[in-house]
């Protein structure tokens, strides 16, 4: 044990000196400085790979700040000491510039840094002009990329679907940016022609992606265990849809045959998109492109839950409203495709939910809330002007324009194949006659699917009126929100939709004065845009459950085992807002679903009868054996696996310096060898007055 004692003694010695553990700084700490940022990673579909990857060892490039377009020329015209790493502000991060950088080749451009300087940025959307173009209705009218007028994302550059030969690293923190700029100014930004001769400030980005070529290849390689420890190359994008009904559905008791349990229930399907997309890992809130829709859906749910009479007192007691938020819609409608796939197979809701499966016959019609960029001109889209569509449009407008609510909105309609890229497309693709109505605004989002679609983009300011957000308010009571504030816009639209649905369900016009509560949307946006540690989420979770992180939840669909934050929170919120309180049931008995115990607004805790549930949002392509990856029937998006994202800046020695060092070393080595050999071989001459020589070699050789 004496070693232990030894070790112990040493630790003791250290403790003796308190925490003052002498920490010498290693040389490398002086050489490198790490840079915090977000990396662009690689996604694959059935036929292509998109995104970026560094080299296996990490890509190194000499920093070069691009202030104006002209600065790029220096890099593109045979730069003196390649490879370089341009630092590009967003307004220069255009398709044209990026393509030129790609053309310059990895030996000239090895890294691209996107620095967060949005001052002169006008637009920043790297989604296609026609989002989800290839899984939408195959009709020229639906979307025309070449014609901005009819495209659904006129500002899109499509870079999100490009494959870059270099890693792109997004640096949001201004301190990091100043670090980079300082380094650039100090070492690089003078005498460009002598770059080759001096050490330059360089950046190394490590974001090596395992997958390559296409989902087909990487899934095949992942499934095929070709040695003791098979390695994972990519995961399919996978999330969870969240759905809930206004009225609880009766629990299926017997596991009888599918066909005879098909009920005569009739659902109005209200849906929206849950996720968003961006180029970089972990950033991008999708505030305008999908969060507004989600907010409206929640509001509508809350309204209907409180306005509607009990199901029994409806004219048709089999009617119900099914709210579904589809996940992974940004990547070829993963969620809705899976929903359709399940419904076709009587697999929705999943068996474990113990509810009768829903078929398309059960769905009365679908109201899909798309992207509502501009509340002012919302359109009701449908393939054809069915009476149903006309009726709903008329109802909507009646409330939108009715003076007693003063929403002063006008909802136009467009009955054509020019359908926005929303979940409804999946349903219409299956059956063009499917009664799908889409609420969608004229595209006005210049930051669609980008890291800049954030709080500023929707001009949201948190009022933080810590008031009860669940109760409905009188139409006149605006809680001090300005009429043009986001909260009010959401309130208006959601009220209109809710009233229209109310009329559809009950058959009689809504005459009450209660409308949606702007405070709810205020809280909602705060939670999803600023901090998950917020009153709404607290109210919607189990009392005393861990608080959310003080940052907005990630809304990227991510992969299996990824942080399913947004779906988790949505699940709780819908569960909370769409459930009926059960005052009689004590906390102890309120454990098994559908009963669930919520903290409630004041945190007191209340037992509620919930209806919400998850359904899988994994593309059917990964369920079907020998699925034809090129068929384009289903979404085939996968995300490559990677080990780490890291970036660090340092001084890259000039090749001259290196070569000189090396040659000096070699010369020294050779010289010393010759010298030592000669000396040792003839040492008895050198040290004459000694009896014997200390030569280790046989007799002297003449020189």
């Amino acid at each position: 044990m004496e070693k232990r004692v030894q070790a112990a003694a040493i630790w003791l010695l250290m403790l003796l000196h308190g925490a003052a553990v002498a920490q010498g700084e290693r040389t490398r700490d002086k050489m490198y400085q790490s840079i915090v940022g977000a990396g662009c990673f690689r996604r694959l579909n059935g036929t292509h790979q998109t995104g970026c990857s560094s080299t296996h060892a990490g890509s190194v490039g000499v920093l070069h700040l691009i202030k104006v377009e002209a600065d790029l020329e220096f890099l593109l015209a045979s730069p003196p000491s390649p490879p370089y790493a341009p630092m590009i502000p967003p307004h220069l991060f255009t398709r044209q510039n990026l393509l030129r950088l790609i053309e310059a080749g990895p030996k000239n451009i090895s890294v691209v840094l996107l620095i967060n300087k949005p001052d002169s940025m006008k637009q920043f959307s790297h989604e296609l002009n026609c989002p989800n173009q290839y899984s939408s209705l195959n009709n020229s009218e639906t979307c025309d990329a070449s014609n901005p007028a009819t495209s659904w994302n006129p500002w899109g550059t499509g870079l999100l679907h490009e494959d870059f030969p270099f890693p792109i690293y997004y640096i949001a923190d201004t301190e990091e940016i100043t670090k980079l700029e300082k380094c650039f100014e100090k070492f690089n930004n003078f005498e460009y022609e002598t770059h080759a001769l001096r050490s330059l400030c360089a950046v190394e980005v490590k974001s090596f992606m395992s997958a390559a070529v296409s989902s087909e290849v990487c899934i095949r390689r992942t499934r095929f265990i070709n040695n003791l420890s098979g390695s994972k190359y990519c995961d399919p994008l996978e999330g969870r849809n969240v759905y809930a009904t206004v009225y609880p559905r009766n629990i299926k008791t017997d596991d009888s045959e599918v066909n005879d349990i098909i009920t005569r229930e009739r659902f109005i399907l209200v849906s929206c998109r849950l996720d968003t997309a961006s180029m970089f890992d972990g950033v991008g809130l999708g505030a305008m492109d999908s969060l507004v829709g989600l907010a409206i859906l929640t509001q509508v749910a809350n309204l209907l839950r409180q306005l509607l009479p009990p199901q029994s007192s409806l004219p048709d007691t089999k009617r119900n409203v099914l709210f579904v938020t589809f996940n992974g819609e940004s990547y070829d409608y993963i969620g809705s495709q899976r929903f359709v796939y399940d419904v076709e197979r009587f697999a929705f809701p999943k068996a474990s939910a113990r509810r009768a499966p829903i078929t398309f016959d059960n769905i009365e019609f679908m109201l899909d809330i798309g992207t509502l960029d501009d509340i002012a001109n919302i359109k009701l889209h449908a393939l054809s002007g069915t009476p149903l569509a006309q009726k709903l449009l008329q109802q909507l407008n009646s409330y939108a324009q009715s003076p007693r609510y003063g929403f002063n909105l006008n909802i136009q309609s467009e009955m054509s194949y020019h359908i926005p890229p929303t979940s409804a497309q999946s349903f219409l693709r299956r059956d063009p006659r499917f009664p799908a109505l889409i609420l969608n605004a004229k595209p006005a989002n210049k930051y669609y699917h980008s890291i800049y679609d954030d709080v500023e983009n929707v001009a949201f300011t948190y009022a933080n009126t810590s008031q009860d957000f669940t109760m409905l308010l009188d139409v006149s009571n605006t809680k001090g929100f300005r009429a043009d504030s986001l909260q009010m816009k959401v309130r208006n639209v959601s009220s209109i939709v809710a009233m229209a649905l109310f009329e559809t369900l009950t058959g009689k016009e809504y005459t009450g004065s209660k409308v949606a509560n702007p405070v709810l949307s205020d809280e909602f946006f705060y939670c999803f845009l600023l901090s998950a540690d917020c009153p709404l989420f607290k109210a919607a979770s189990y009392p005393g459950s861990p608080k959310g992180l003080p940052m907005p939840p990630m809304r990227y669909v991510s992969v299996l085992g990824g942080p399913q934050e947004s779906s988790g929170w949505t699940y709780r919120v819908l569960g909370y807002l769409l459930s009926q309180q059960q005052p009689k049931i004590p906390k102890d008995n309120c454990t098994v679903l559908p009963l669930h115990y919520f903290a409630g607004f004041n945190g007191a805790g209340e037992c509620r009868l919930t209806t919400q549930n998850y359904s899988s949002a994994l593309s059917p392509a990964f369920l079907i054996d020998d699925y034809d990856w090129r068929s384009g029937n289903y979404s085939t998006w996968t995300e490559s696996t990677w080990s780490l994202f890291s970036a660090r800046i340092f001084l890259r020695p000039s090749s001259v310096h290196q070569i000189t060092t090396l040659s000096v070393g070699i010369v020294v080595l050779i010289l010393s060898f010759c010298l030592v050999y000669i000396i040792s071989s003839r040492s008895e001459v050198l040290f004459e007055d000694l009896p014997a020589s200390n030569a280790a070699l046989p007799p002297p050789t003449a020189c």
């Binding site: 010695l13 000196h17 003052a20 002498a22 290693r26 040389t27 490398r28 002086k30 050489m31 490198y32 400085q33 060892a57 990490g58 190194v60 380094c183 050490s199 400030c201 360089a202 190394e204 800046i649 340092f650 001084l651 890259r652 020695p653 310096h657 290196q658 070569i659 000189t660 060092t661 090396l662 040659s663 000096v664 070393g665 070699i666 020294v668 080595l669 010393s672 060898f673 010298l675 030592v676 050999y677 040792s680 003839r682 001459v685 050198l686 040290f687 004459e688 007055d689 000694l690 009896p691 014997a692 020589s693 200390n694 030569a695 280790a696 070699l697 003449a702 020189c703």
Partner: protein, 239 residues
Amino acid sequence: MTLPEFFGCTFIAFGPPFALFVFTIANDPVRIIILIAAAFFWLLSLLLSSLLWFAIIPLRDVLAFGVFFSVVFQECFRYIIYRILRSTEQGLQAVAEDTRVTDNKHILSYVSGLGFGIISGMFALVNVLADMSGPGTMGLKSGTELFFVTSAAQALSIILLHTFWSVIFFNACDTNNYLHIAYVIGSHLFVSLLTLLNASELYTATLLTNYIITILTGLLAFRVAGGTSRSFKKFVTCQ
């Protein structure tokens, strides 16, 4: 990857000692063992000095203090290993495969000195070298890109110096030549303390003086080991 830099510095620092090892040590087991033993003793001295440095917290940042004591410890251990070698000389005499080891007592001192030098050079440089194999070089926050080359050069001079010192020291101990002993300790102290200036990047000053001292010490060692100007002439003119 600046592997060139890495190899360059490695060759600069360890090329000469490696050559010495190959040609004068490698083919005699006894010498190898003595070499390693010397290295071990140097380790012990380093351990003691760093313990001292570690124990006296307030002076941790005053490197001169630690340097001074480590020099003292090293010289003490040089003496200890001298005693040990001399006391085991009889045994060695019989043991040595080629009698030269014992016939020429300078060889013992030379070998142990080389052991001292190599291990100290390694300890000084090996981590720096390891860090060198990355993509970057010194100078982002502090220091210059000359850092590595100068470190290597310094290490080389230290390695050679240790060798010479041992030769002089042992001989001085044999002949009670206190002047030489004083010179060894003094020059060792001087060189080590001089390298403190490296922190302020006065490389020319430190390197030049160090190498001058190295040469002087080398000459002294040469004399001590029985070389003379005449023999040198003979050597050069290869008679």
